[in-house]
Symmetry: C2
């Protein structure tokens, strides 16, 4: 079979490995290699790292060399949350002629936080004839694209309230740390104060939602508070973003990620005419579903014209499993 999509995985942390494993199982995708500079991965067989069959695909540490040699049509990118940290990687992909689907949270809607960088990436994508997309469960789907999709049923939207409650007790240690699980109040406050703490992308979801609804936000404020657990230590955190337009609160988005969270769920409430109340009982599982969305987005990204796009620009992304 020669018409499978030549695909490289860039970043083999837990999320990247999940994406690569799913991609390897898809009959329309040919996973031809990986990029990761970690000493326990670079130079090894990709299949050995993943524990699945990927032919003679290898993991290389030098992205430009790997991309130049492999010439993938698509790079699945999962190396970081912050756009300035990964911009050079994205540009290297574009210059190698590869379309990119990335889990970088700040790439999901970069036009507000990083307008100059967004313009630069858009220009790189266009001049190299490729499409760049940032996506995932959150940001990318459950607190933005899905809310915009539900608004189709509304003659008028006055306010959107988004609630995501995740029980992290059974999740990756890395995620538990990210939300402060086990910290004392003082350490929690210090972590919040130091920045790069909590969920990345809540603001991006709000900006994407506003853009989808044709709203211009006057302000978007974020707060992070401790969710108390046993012995006065943090069970996790609750992060809230509040967006206003014309002096009114129009978006309230809350992500609670903690151990023993009550009633994990995703909820979208649209106040408007008619109103819409959506609940995903149990919530969408972050890691597994993020891998799904990234891989499911591949055909839509390949079919789209070149440039930096968001999920709102693509026709509905669908599961293409067997």
């Amino acid at each position: 079979v020669t018409d499978r999509i030549r695909t490289v995985i860039f970043g083999l942390g837990p999320i990247g490995a999940g994406i690569a494993t799913l991609a390897a199982s898809r009959p329309d995708i040919d996973l031809i290699g990986g990029v990761d500079s970690a000493p326990d991965k670079a130079g090894r067989s990709l299949g050995d790292i993943l524990g699945v069959e990927t032919g003679n695909a290898r993991v290389l540490d030098d992205a430009s060399a790997a991309l130049g040699e492999l010439r993938p049509q698509v790079v699945l990118h999962a190396t970081g949350s912050y756009l300035p940290d990964v911009q050079d990687q994205l540009i290297a992909c574009a210059r190698a002629g590869a379309n990119v689907v990335s889990t970088c949270e700040e790439l999901s809607y970069p036009w507000q936080r990083h307008p100059d960088l967004a313009k630069k990436l858009d220009a790189e994508a266009r001049s190299n004839g490729v499409t760049l997309l940032g996506t995932g469960v959150n940001p990318g789907f459950v607190m933005d694209t899905l809310a915009v999709a539900l608004s189709a049923a509304c003659q008028r939207v006055e306010r959107v309230t988004l609630t995501r409650v995740v029980d992290v007790s059974q999740r990756r240690l890395q995620l538990q740390r990210k939300v402060g699980m086990g910290l004392s109040l003082d350490d929690f406050r210090a972590s919040v104060g130091a920045g790069r703490f909590g969920h990345v992308g809540l603001a991006e979801s709000c900006w994407m939602l506003a853009r989808g609804l044709g709203w211009t936000l006057d302000s978007l404020d974020e707060t992070i508070e401790l969710v108390a657990g046993e012995g006065g230590l943090a069970a996790g955190m609750r992060q809230t973003a509040t967006g206003t337009a014309n002096g009114r609160t129009v978006i309230t988005a809350t992500v609670q990620m903690s151990a023993a969270a009550e009633r994990p769920r995703d909820e979208i409430a649209i106040d408007g005419a008619p109103p819409v109340r959506m609940v995903l009982e149990g919530g969408i599982q972050g890691d597994s579903a993020t891998a799904a969305i990234v891989v499911n987005a591949v055909p839509r990204v390949l079919a789209h014209e070149p440039g930096l796009v968001t999920m709102l620009d693509l026709p509905v992304v669908a599961s293409r499993g067997a």
Copy 2:
């Protein structure tokens, strides 16, 4: 303002009037006229019929004459559920150079039930440089597009179960009749046997969903049963479509429309990995939301390349209310 979208409403029954009223309220739409042959509408002022301000827009009974004179960019079409009945109207719109968003249920996904007619309409649309879309709440959104959108979060989809429960006790008499409310069992059976009874478009939703998920259905069977009400008369009906692929049931779609229906709602359950369980408590209100979806789809249809399209071809349709 000269860059508003020149729009005509074709069909001024309850749904068409709702669409037109919403369209008249949108700042980007210029509602320039209507088409309806009913003696109590033809020849009158559109604004008088709707009870809203529409300038000097009038309602004409001759579609071709009206379209030729008004040259709309978009026709909002709401005259019937069955594609063979309305095909000449759609072709007249295309030949007048108008894009069409129609509530015709069979147009939402016509490729299975009316393949030749779908090809013909697609060719007419392309040769006239316009886009044709059939949409609404159901079919068009809550039992097809939304289910496909939710599947983005799934690595694998095994089965989709769709449930829509509508309490028709406060709804239009026309709708109550359509679902058999008040009929005896014998009359209900006779109505089902005579055809053109019940909800139109359930099969179209299933075919659209299958197409969205990349499935080929082996069979799709529909049943209609009476929902018992007071005094042994029908409170309404329950209609179920069951789709199989490779010998397995993969889609079960049920619409219950009856008086005093318990827990009105829309529910989408995706069995797969990870599974997804969505509930819209109360359900999406059919008439009001159909008007919303039709009007909200206008910018997406205008931006799309010519042809006969479905909701799955368009980037996410969003509320563009103020």
